[in-house]
Amino acid sequence: MKITSLTAALAAVLVGSAAVADEIGDAERGAEIYDYCAACHEVGRGAENGIGPHLNGLFGRRAASVGDGYAYSDSLRRAGADGLEWHLRTLDAYIENPKALVSGTRMNFDGLEDAQERADLLAYLRRFSDNPRDIPEADPTARAPEVDLPPEILAIVGDPAYGEYLSSECSTCHQRDGNDDGIPSINNWPSEDFVVAMHAYKQKLRPHPVMQMMAGRLSDEEIAALAAYFKTID
C-alpha cells in the first residue's frame, strides 16, 4: 500500500516535471532554435565544455559554476559570485540580450528578440535540467513575468545636468579613471545598454545588493538622466 502510493507520487512528480517544460514553451521548436547555440554549446548525454560551457543541469545552477576549468569572462564570474543563478527569468533575460544582464560576457550572441522563441528554447533546455528540486512549484521553473522594457521607457530623453548630479553617487565606488579592480568600470557605456542594465538591477534580475538598492530607487527619468550624462563623458 505504502509502496503503491509512493510510486504514484513519484509518477506524479515526473509527469509534473514534463508538463512544466511544456508549459514554458514548445520544446520541439526549441530543439530547432538550439541550432544557434550548438555552434558553441553542447547539451545532453556526454556533453562537454567547448567554446561555451555545457548546458546540462543549467536550471538552478549558479552562473559561471561549471567546473573542468572552463574559462569564464571576469564579468560572468563576478555575476556568479554576486549570486546570479540560472532560472527561467534570468535565462530569458540573458538570451534576449546577453550584455544587458552580464555586461562583459564573452557569449558572442546578439540575442533572441522573439519571446516565444526564447520560451521554446528554454523549454528544450529545461529537459536537460531535470532534478528533484525542480518540481513544479520550485523556483527554477516558476513562470517569469515579462521583463522587456516598453519602448517608451527607452525613448525617455534624459536630463544630463540631473544625470551629472546623480552620477556623483556612482563615483563613490566606480572609479572615474576606468580602473575595474573589484568594481567594474562604467565609463563609455552606450545609453541603451545602460538603461537596460539599470532596469535589470531595479527588477532584481541582475544580482548584487548594492546595485539593486541604488537602481531600485531611481525613477525611469532618473535612469534616463544618468544614461544621458554618461553618454557625454569619456
Partner: protein, 422 residues
C-alpha cells in the same frame, strides 16, 4: 557666438543672474567664497565638487591641519597586515593643482557667525559666504574613567588614523607570547559602527600569525553591535577561542582603566593587559562648538541641504552631524558632501538644485578574503535623513561571495579616495 558665464554677467543681462544670488553679488566682492574645515571624506569631497562644478565662480578654501591625511577606513586593514600605512595616506596636491582649491594646512580656532569669518591658529582670518564644517569626531572627556587624551600613547584610541594606528599595531606586535590585548568599545553613536569589530578581527588575524596563544578581551557597553552575527560567526570560524566579548550583562559597560599600570577593571575585576585600545565615547569635532552649532554632543542639520539648524550659512557633514538614520562613516560623509555642495552652489550661483539622495555601504574584513558588507539608501525628510532600503551580508555565505565582497571593498576604496582627493 560663444558667451561664457563671466561675459554674460558683464552685459546688460546681469540682473537675472544677480537676482538668483543676491546676497553674494550685493556683498560687493567678485567670487563667492566657501571655506571648508576638515579634509576627510566629507570636507575633501565637498571642496572638490564645489571647485569642479563651480566653474571658476567659487573660491574654495580647504582648511586641514595635516599634509598627509590617513583614512580611518581601511586603517584596520593596516593593523591586520593587509595594507601598508602609505597606501592609506593621501595628500592634497591634486585638489590644489587640478581643481584650484586653496589648501591651507592649519587649525581653525574660531568662527564669527555674524562677520562670517573663520580664524586660524596661524592668525589668518578667512571670510566666507558659506562655511562647511566636516571636522569628524572628538572624544567625550572622562568617558572611560582613568583614560584621557594625555594617556593616548599608553592606551591608543587609534580612532583617528595615522600615528595612533601605527602605535597600536606596534604595541600589539610587542605583546609577550600568550599575552592579553584588551579593547574598550564605545557607546552609541560613534564613528564607523562596525569599526571596533573589524579591528578585533584584524588584531586576531595579526596575533594568529605572530602570537597564536594570545587572547583578545573586548569590554562593550552595548548589548548589540553592527554585523554582530557575521563577526561572531567569523571569530568562531577563524579565531576560535581567541576572542572574548563581554557585553553589558557581563560588566562590559562598567570599565575603568589605569594606563600607567596597564590594567583594565571590568565590573571590579582587574586584568593586567599587554596592549589596550580605548575607544571612548565621541562627540562632534571641537570647531562645531566654537561655531555654536551643537546640540548635545552633535550638530543637528537640515536633511535637504546639510545646513546647520542653528546657522543657515553653515553646512555640516559626516561624523559631526546629528542627521537621522545614516551611520557615521566615510561613505556617508562623502554622500552628504555631494548634497551639500549642490545646495551651496545653488544658493551662491543660482545653479539647479536636485532632490537630495544619500547612500552608504560599510565593508568589513574578517579574515583573508572574508569580506562582509551592510548598506542602505536614504532620503531627506523635513525631520531627518530617513532610511529607504537596505541590505546586509548573510551568515554562511560561500567563500566566492565573501572574496568578491572583499575585492569590491578594494574597488570602493580606490573609488572614494579618487572622489575625495581627485
Amino acid at each position: 557666438m560663444t558667451l561664457n558665464r563671466r561675459a554674460f554677467i558683464g552685459t546688460g543681462a546681469a540682473a537675472a543672474v544677480a537676482l538668483s544670488a543676491p546676497m553674494v553679488r550685493a556683498a560687493g566682492h567678485g567670487k563667492a567664497r566657501v571655506v571648508v574645515i576638515g579634509g576627510g571624506a566629507g570636507g575633501a569631497t565637498a571642496a572638490r565638487y564645489l571647485a569642479k562644478d563651480g566653474a571658476g565662480e567659487i573660491d574654495v578654501t580647504l582648511v586641514e591641519p595635516t599634509r598627509q591625511y590617513y583614512t580611518c577606513f581601511f586603517s584596520n586593514l593596516y593593523i591586520g597586515g593587509f595594507r601598508d600605512i602609505s597606501s592609506i595616506g593621501h595628500s592634497y596636491g591634486t585638489l590644489a593643482t587640478d581643481y584650484g582649491v586653496n589648501v591651507v594646512h592649519d587649525w581653525a580656532v574660531g568662527v564669527d557667525n555674524t562677520a562670517k569669518t573663520v580664524t586660524l591658529a596661524g592668525g589668518a582670518v578667512l571670510p566666507y559666504d558659506r562655511l562647511i564644517l566636516s571636522p569628524g569626531i572628538d572624544f567625550v572627556e572622562d568617558a572611560v574613567p582613568g583614560w584621557s587624551v594625555a594617556a593616548q600613547n599608553k592606551m591608543p584610541h587609534a580612532y583617528k588614523a595615522g600615528s595612533q594606528t601605527e602605535l597600536l599595531k606596534a604595541q600589539i606586535e610587542a605583546m609577550p607570547e600568550g599575552g592579553l590585548f584588551a579593547m574598550v568599545a564605545p557607546p552609541n553613536p560613534f564613528r564607523c559602527p562596525p569599526g571596533p569589530y573589524e579591528r578585533v578581527s584584524m588584531v586576531a588575524h595579526l596575533l594568529s600569525e605572530i602570537n597564536p596563544t594570545a587572547k583578545i578581551l573586548v569590554a562593550d557597553p552595548k548589548p548589540k553591535f553592527s554585523k554582530m552575527a557575521l563577526f561572531q560567526e567569523g571569530w568562531q570560524k577563524h579565531y576560535s577561542g581567541m576572542v572574548d566579548w563581554l557585553g553589558p550583562d557581563f560588566g562590559g559597560g562598567n570599565v575603568t582603566v589605569n594606563p600607567d599600570e596597564m590594567t583594565v577593571s571590568i565590573d571590579g575585576v582587574v586584568e593586567k593587559v599587554d596592549a589596550c585600545n580605548v575607544i571612548p565615547a565621541q562627540k562632534a569635532g571641537r570647531i562645531c562648538e566654537m561655531a555654536g552649532v551643537m546640540e548635545g554632543n552633535w550638530a543637528p542639520v537640515v536633511p535637504h541641504t546639510m545646513q546647520s539648524r542653528m546657522d543657515e550659512n553653515i553646512h555640516i557633514l559626516g561624523d559631526a552631524t546629528n542627521q537621522g538614520d545614516m551611520p557615521k562613516s566615510g561613505y556617508s560623509a562623502n554622500s552628504q558632501a555631494k548634497v551639500a555642495a549642490m545646495a551651496v552652489r545653488g544658493a551662491l550661483l543660482g545653479s539647479r538644485v536636485f532632490p537630495a539622495k544619500f547612500s552608504n555601504t560599510c565593508w568589513s574584513l574578517i579574515d583573508t578574503d572574508d569580506g562582509v558588507k551592510v548598506g542602505a539608501s536614504y532620503q531627506a525628510t523635513d525631520e531627518k535623513i530617513a532610511k529607504v532600503d537596505g541590505f546586509i551580508s548573510q551568515t554562511g555565505e560561500d567563500s566566492a561571495l565573501r572574496k568578491a565582497t572583499y575585492n569590491e571593498s578594494l574597488g570602493w576604496y580606490a573609488g572614494i579616495t579618487e572622489d575625495m582627493f581627485g
